[in-house]
Symmetry: C2
Subunit: 443 residues, 2 copies
Amino acid sequence: MTAPSSSPQDLVTPDELLELWPILDADEQVEGFRLLDRAAAEPFFLSRAAAGQATLILGLPEGERRLWVRLLAPDDLADVLQVVPSARRTELLALLDEPTRHEVQALLAYAEDEAGGLMNPRYARMRPEMRVDEALRYLRQHARRKTEAIYYAFVVGPDDRLLGVLSFKELLLAPDDQTVEQVMRRDVITVPETMDQEEIARLIARHNLMALPVVDAEGRMRGIVTVDDIVHVLGEEATEDIQKLGGMEALDLPYWRTPFRTLVRKRGGWLTVLFLGEMLTATAMAGYEQEIARAVVLALFVPLIISSGGNSGSQASTLIVRAMALGEVRLGDVIRVLRRELASGIVLGSVLAIIGLVRILVWQSLFGTYGEHAALLAITVGLSLVGVVTWGTLAGSMLPFLLRRLKLDPASASAPFVATLVDVSGLVIYFSVAQIVLRGTLL
Amino acid sequence: MTAPSSSPQDLVTPDELLELWPILDADEQVEGFRLLDRAAAEPFFLSRAAAGQATLILGLPEGERRLWVRLLAPDDLADVLQVVPSARRTELLALLDEPTRHEVQALLAYAEDEAGGLMNPRYARMRPEMRVDEALRYLRQHARRKTEAIYYAFVVGPDDRLLGVLSFKELLLAPDDQTVEQVMRRDVITVPETMDQEEIARLIARHNLMALPVVDAEGRMRGIVTVDDIVHVLGEEATEDIQKLGGMEALDLPYWRTPFRTLVRKRGGWLTVLFLGEMLTATAMAGYEQEIARAVVLALFVPLIISSGGNSGSQASTLIVRAMALGEVRLGDVIRVLRRELASGIVLGSVLAIIGLVRILVWQSLFGTYGEHAALLAITVGLSLVGVVTWGTLAGSMLPFLLRRLKLDPASASAPFVATLVDVSGLVIYFSVAQIVLRGTLL
C-alpha cells in the first residue's frame, strides 16, 4: 500500500474502478484513474459522462491534461466545458489547437439540451459525384480518430447542403462503378439546431436510427447527434421525471454525489409547499368542528377517505404524465382523457365504496363499533368514496394538461402534489355528504 | 373518400400516419399502412415496435404477408412471434425459408427480456488470419441485407469462439497489409445469453457501445444486441417503473391501446390493496376516540400530520428506487442510506415543525382558534411532525431495500404504498405525543 503508485501490483482494473466509481469522491476518482493501466485508461476516460471527464481533467496534474483534453471529440469537449467552473474554461481551451478551439467555442453557444449542444460537428461526408469505390477510398483516408461515429456517410454539396445519406452497409453493398448520387437515399430525416433533446430521443427511437443529421435554416449540415448520446439523455430525462413525480426537485446528480445540503433543499422546497397547501385541511376541518364534536365517529374515517382520493389521483396523474412524455397523449386529447378518466373514477370509486360499506356493516354486526346509526354511516362513507375517488381521478388526470397549457412541466403533477390538492376537497365532499345523509340522526 | 384506395390522392405520408398511429385501432392501422407509398412503407414497417409489426402482418391479406415477414431480421421476427397468438405462430413460421425458420425457433426459446431474446444472430464476422484488405472485400461480399448492424466486425475462430473485435472505423483506418489479428482489440465486453435487458442497457450506456456480443458458456458467439434495441428497452423500463411508482400495475401497452377493463383492473388491484391497508387508520383512530371526543381540536390536524409523513416517505422511496435502477445504490449500501436518510428526515421534519408551530401560534393570536392550550397544541403538532417526517423518510428509503431483499421489484415502493404504510404509524405517533404533552390539560 505504501509502494509507489506506478508499481504493477497497485494497478486496478477498469471493472474494479467502475464498481466503486459512484461512491468515490472527486479526489478518489482521480487517484483511482491514475492507477489504471495506460491502455485501459483511454476507453475508461471516454466512456465517462461529461461530469466525470471534467473531474478527471481538472484533478490531473497540469502536464497530463492536454493529452486527455485532445482525446475528446468537440461535442464531448463542449459538454465538459459546460460543467467546468467558467474560470477554468479558458485554461482548458488554451490546450486545444486553433481549429478545434473554434469548433468547440461554436458548440458552446448552444444550450446543452438541444440538438446544437449535443451534436458532433465531425462526421463522415462525401460528394455526390464520387464513384462508390472512390468514396470508400476517400473515407479510409479521411476517417480521423475524432470522427466519432462512422455509421452513416452524409452526401453534401459544395455549400454543405445535405443531399442524401448512405449507411456504411449500403455503401459496401453498392457496385463500385455507380456514383454516390445514384445509390444514396434522399429522404433524410433532419433536425434543426434548436430541437430539444427529448424530441430528438423520440425521433431516434421512433425511426430506429443510429444518428440524426443536424441542419441549419438553409439546410446546411452542422453535425450529427448519435444514438449513444441519446441513451444518456433518455436515462437523465426519465430520472428527472421520476424524481419530480415523487414530489421533489430533480437532483441533476447521482444520489451519492448530491451534497447533503442540496439533497435536503431539493426535497424541503416541495415538502414545504405541500405542507402549506395541506394546512388548508386544518382550516377545512375547523369548519366542521361542530359536526366532529357531535359525531366523533365521523373523524375516524377522515384518513381513509382522503387517502383514497390521493391514491386514485396519483395513479391518474402518473399515467397521464408518462403518456404525455411518450407522445401518446397530447393537449388536444383533453376531452377524450376527461371522459375516460371520469368513467374510470366512477368504477374505481364504486369498488372501494362497496368494500368500505361491507367493512362498516361487518364490524358493526361483530363488535357494534359504530352505534345505532351504523347503516347511515356506511352510506355516508360509501357515497363519499365514490365522490372523492372520482374527483381525485379527474383532478389527477387534468392537472398535467393544466401544467402543460401553462408551459410548466407536467411531471410536477406529482403523487404528493395531487394528494394535497385532493385532500381539502375530499374533506369538503365527505362532510357535505355527511350533513345530508346524517341530518336529524347523528348530526 | 370513396375513390379506390390505390388512387394517388389517397396516399398518406409516413409522417401523417405516425402522428395518428397511437390513437388508431388495429384495423385503422392496417388500413393506413396500405395507403402508404410502397417505398415509404418499408422503412415505416421496420421502425414499428414488435406489437405494431404483428398487428400489420396479421391484418394484411394472406398473399401480402410473406413479403413483410421476410423483411424482418430473425431477432425482430422472434419478437413479433412472441406477441402473436400462438395459434397463428405456425402459420407465420411456414412463410420463412428453412434456415431462417431454425434461427427464429432457436431465438423463441429465450425469454423476451434477456440477451438471448434481444440478440440478432446475424452479425459481421471475420477470421483472424485475414489481411485487412481481404477482410474489407469479404465484408462487402457477405454483407447481407439482414445483417442488421455493421458497426463492429467480430473476429471468430473456427469454433465460433470470439477472439476480438474491430469497429468499422478501425478497420478502415488499418493498413491493408496487416492481418485482422494484428489490429483487432482483444478486451471485448461480452454478455451471457441469460443477462437481463436492464443490465445490458446499463452496460451499453456505461461503456458507450453501439453493440454488445452475446456468447454462450464456452465463449462462442451467439449474436449481438444493438443499441437501438436498448433505446426501446430503456423507454419501456422507465415507463414500467414510473407506473409502478404511481401506485398501479405496469400497463404494458400505450394508454389508448389499453382496453378500459384492463386499465381499471390494473389500477383497481393496487387501489383495493391500499384501501384495505388504509382501513387500519379507521381502527387506529377508533383507539383514540376518547381523546378526540375530549379534544376535538386534535382531529383538525390529523390530515396535515399524516400527509406530511406520506409526502416525505414518497420522496425518499422514489429517490432510492431510481438510484437502485441506475445502479447507484446497492443492497450493501443499506446502512449508509439509513444514516443519510435519518439525518434528512430529522432536518426536513424540523423545518415543517417550525412552520406548523408558527402557523398555530399566529392563528391563535389573530383569531383565538385553538383555545387556552394553543401553545401546548403547537408543541404537540411540532413534535409529531418531527417524528412522523423522520419515520416517513426512513420507511420510504428502507422499503425498496426490503422489497429487493425479498426478490420483489423495488419500484413497487410507490408513493401511495409508502403513504399508506406511514399513515397508521403517523396516527400512533401523533396521538402518543398528544397523550404525553396534553395530559392534565386538554386530555
